[in-house]
C-alpha cells in the first residue's frame, strides 16, 4: 500500500480528525504540514479550492478529497472492512451520518466562532462572545444528554463519529479562555468521561502527540499561538 497523503496545519483541529482514523485502521500515511498562510495560495487551491485543511490524496485509488467528514467516510468505506469503527445495519448507519453532520455543521463551526471572537477578532464584542458561548454550552448539553447511560453516541462501541468530536474538545478550553489544565467539559460529566475514554486510545494519544510536536515545530507551544502573536498582525495578513 502506498502512503495516503494528508494535508494539515499544526494547530487546526480539523486536519487531525482523519489522522485518528488512519491510526485506528493501521494505515500508512504521510503528513503534509502546511502553514496557514500557504492555504490561501494558488498552488494549494489546486488541492483544495476551499483553501482549508484537511485534504487527502490516496494514490492507491487516485482520489483527491477535501472536507474532513468526506475524508473520514471515505477511509471507513474503503479500509474499515471489518467494521471496527462503524455499523452496516440500516438504522445505525444513518444515525452515524446524522451525528457526523452535527459535528461538522455545529460543533466545529460554533466552537470555531467562540475561539475567533475571544482570541482573534480585532475588537472584543461582548454580545458576540455571549452568543457563541451559549451556542457551545448548548452543544455540550446536547452531547451530555445523548450520552446519558451510554458509553458511545451510536450503538455500543466507539465509532468514527465519536472520534470525530475529539479534536475540537482539545481546543475548546483555550477558545473559551479557560486556564491551562482546566476544561469546560467538567460541567458535562458524560461528555468528560466520553472524552477521557477516547483519550486513552493509542490512536488518539499518538495523534495528539503528533499535533503537539507539529505545533512545537511551528513555535506555537500549548496555546496554539506564537509567543509574539498580535491580533493586528493576523488581520493585516488575512486582508
Amino acid at each position: 500500500m502506498k502512503p495516503i497523503e494528508i494535508w494539515v496545519t499544526s494547530a487546526g483541529p480539523n486536519g487531525w480528525k482523519p489522522v485518528i482514523i488512519l491510526e485506528e485502521l493501521g494505515l500508512i500515511y504521510e503528513l503534509k504540514q502546511m502553514h496557514w498562510e500557504q492555504l490561501m495560495t494558488l498552488e494549494y487551491s489546486k488541492i483544495n479550492p476551499g483553501g482549508k485543511v484537511p485534504a487527502m490524496y490516496d494514490p492507491n485509488t487516485d482520489l483527491l478529497l477535501w472536507e474532513s467528514g468526506a475524508i473520514i467516510l471515505y477511509l471507513i468505506d474503503q479500509y474499515d472492512t471489518e467494521g471496527k469503527l462503524t455499523y452496516n445495519t440500516f438504522k445505525e448507519k444513518h444515525l452515524l451520518s446524522q451525528w457526523l453532520m452535527f459535528q461538522m455543521s455545529q460543533q466545529g463551526p460554533m466552537y470555531g466562532q467562540i475561539g475567533w471572537f475571544n482570541v482573534l477578532h480585532p475588537e472584543k464584542i461582548p454580545s458576540a462572545i455571549e452568543r457563541y458561548t451559549k451556542q457551545c454550552e448548548r452543544i455540550l448539553r446536547i452531547l451530555d444528554d445523548a450520552l446519558e447511560g451510554k458509553q458511545w453516541l451510536v450503538g455500543d462501541k466507539c465509532t468514527y463519529v465519536d472520534l470525530s468530536f475529539f479534536m475540537w474538545h482539545i481546543v475548546l478550553p483555550l477558545s473559551m479562555l479557560y486556564p491551562l489544565g482546566e476544561t469546560p467539559l467538567t460541567k458535562y460529566p458524560n461528555v468528560l468521561a466520553w472524552h477521557q475514554r477516547m483519550a486513552e486510545r493509542d490512536s488518539v494519544d499518538k495523534t495528539v502527540a503528533a499535533r503537539q510536536k507539529a505545533m512545537d515545530s511551528d513555535g506555537l507551544g500549548k496555546s496554539g499561538l506564537p509567543d509574539d502573536f498580535s491580533v493586528e498582525d493576523l488581520n493585516m495578513k488575512m486582508n
Partner: protein
C-alpha cells in the same frame, strides 16, 4: 426492504419544518426532484426547543424527517439528504453510483454546504437582521465569508454547468436556499452577488429552472408574500 417501494406505493415521508426556512426547503427540493410524496409538519419557533419536538430532534432544529416505510427518524439536513438519496435514488437521477469518485465528490460538496455555507451565511443573516445591537465588524466578518465561499463555488464552476460530473445532483441542490439568502442579504444599491460571481449566477438560474427546485422557490415566494400581507394588515388595525 425499501427497494421495491415507488412513489406510488410508499407511505408519504414526514418532513418537520416549513418550506419557508432554508434548511427544510433544501430537503424539500431533493424530495420534489425525486418525485417522492411527503407531508409537512410545521413546528413553531416557540416549540422547537420543547417537547414533543425535542424527542424527535434533541438539537431542537429544523428539519427532521420521519420515514414510516422504515420507521426511521433522522435530523441534520445533510444526513436526511444522504438517507433519501441512498434509499430512494436507486436510478441515480440526482446522484452517482455508490463509492465512485463522483459519489465522494458529491459528499465533499454537501459537507462544504453543511459546514461552510449554511452556518456562516446564517451568522451573516443573524448579525444583519436579528442581533440585538448593531455589530459592524461581526457583520463584516460574515459578509466577507459569504463572498469567499461564493468565490470558491464561482471558480469551480468555471466552464462547468454543475458541481460534479455533467449533471445536476443533490450537491448542487443543497446550496440553493442559502445562496438565495445571500442574494437577499447583499443585493442592494446596484450590487448583485450573481453579477460579481457570474458562474454562480448562471448556475443558480439553471437550478431555478429545475422543477424540484423551482416549485419550492415558488412556494417560498408565495408564503413570504402572504406573511407580508398579514403583517401589513395587522399593522393597520
Amino acid at each position: 426492504m425499501t427497494s421495491t417501494l415507488t412513489p406510488a406505493t410508499m407511505k408519504p415521508l414526514v418532513l418537520y419544518g416549513s418550506l419557508l426556512g432554508p434548511n427544510p426547503a433544501k430537503v424539500g427540493m431533493v424530495l420534489r426532484s425525486l418525485g417522492l410524496p411527503f407531508e409537512i409538519k410545521e413546528v413553531g419557533f416557540g416549540d422547537v426547543k420543547k417537547e414533543p419536538y425535542v424527542s424527535v430532534n434533541p438539537n431542537g432544529r429544523l428539519p427532521s424527517l420521519y420515514d414510516p416505510n422504515s420507521d426511521i427518524t433522522i435530523w441534520e439536513s445533510g444526513a436526511i439528504i444522504e438517507y433519501v438519496i441512498e434509499t430512494y435514488d436507486k436510478d441515480q437521477k440526482i446522484s452517482f453510483p455508490h463509492a465512485s469518485k463522483e459519489d465522494w465528490e458529491c459528499k465533499q460538496w454537501l459537507y462544504l454546504q453543511v459546514s461552510g455555507q449554511g452556518p456562516y451565511y446564517g451568522q451573516a443573516w443573524w448579525f444583519q437582521f436579528h442581533h440585538p445591537t448593531p455589530n459592524p465588524s461581526a457583520l463584516e466578518r460574515y459578509q466577507n465569508e459569504v463572498k469567499r465561499v461564493s468565490g470558491v463555488l464561482n471558480k469551480h464552476l468555471t466552464s462547468k454547468k454543475f458541481l460534479v460530473g455533467d449533471k445536476l445532483t443533490y450537491a448542487d441542490i443543497s446550496f440553493v436556499t442559502w445562496q438565495k439568502s445571500a442574494e437577499k442579504m447583499l443585493n442592494k444599491d446596484g450590487y448583485e452577488i450573481g453579477k460579481e460571481f457570474e458562474n454562480v449566477g448562471g448556475w443558480m438560474e439553471r437550478l431555478r429552472a429545475n422543477e424540484g427546485v423551482g416549485s419550492v422557490l415558488k412556494e417560498q415566494s408565495e408564503g413570504m408574500a402572504k406573511m407580508a400581507e398579514a403583517s401589513a394588515a395587522a399593522k393597520k388595525e
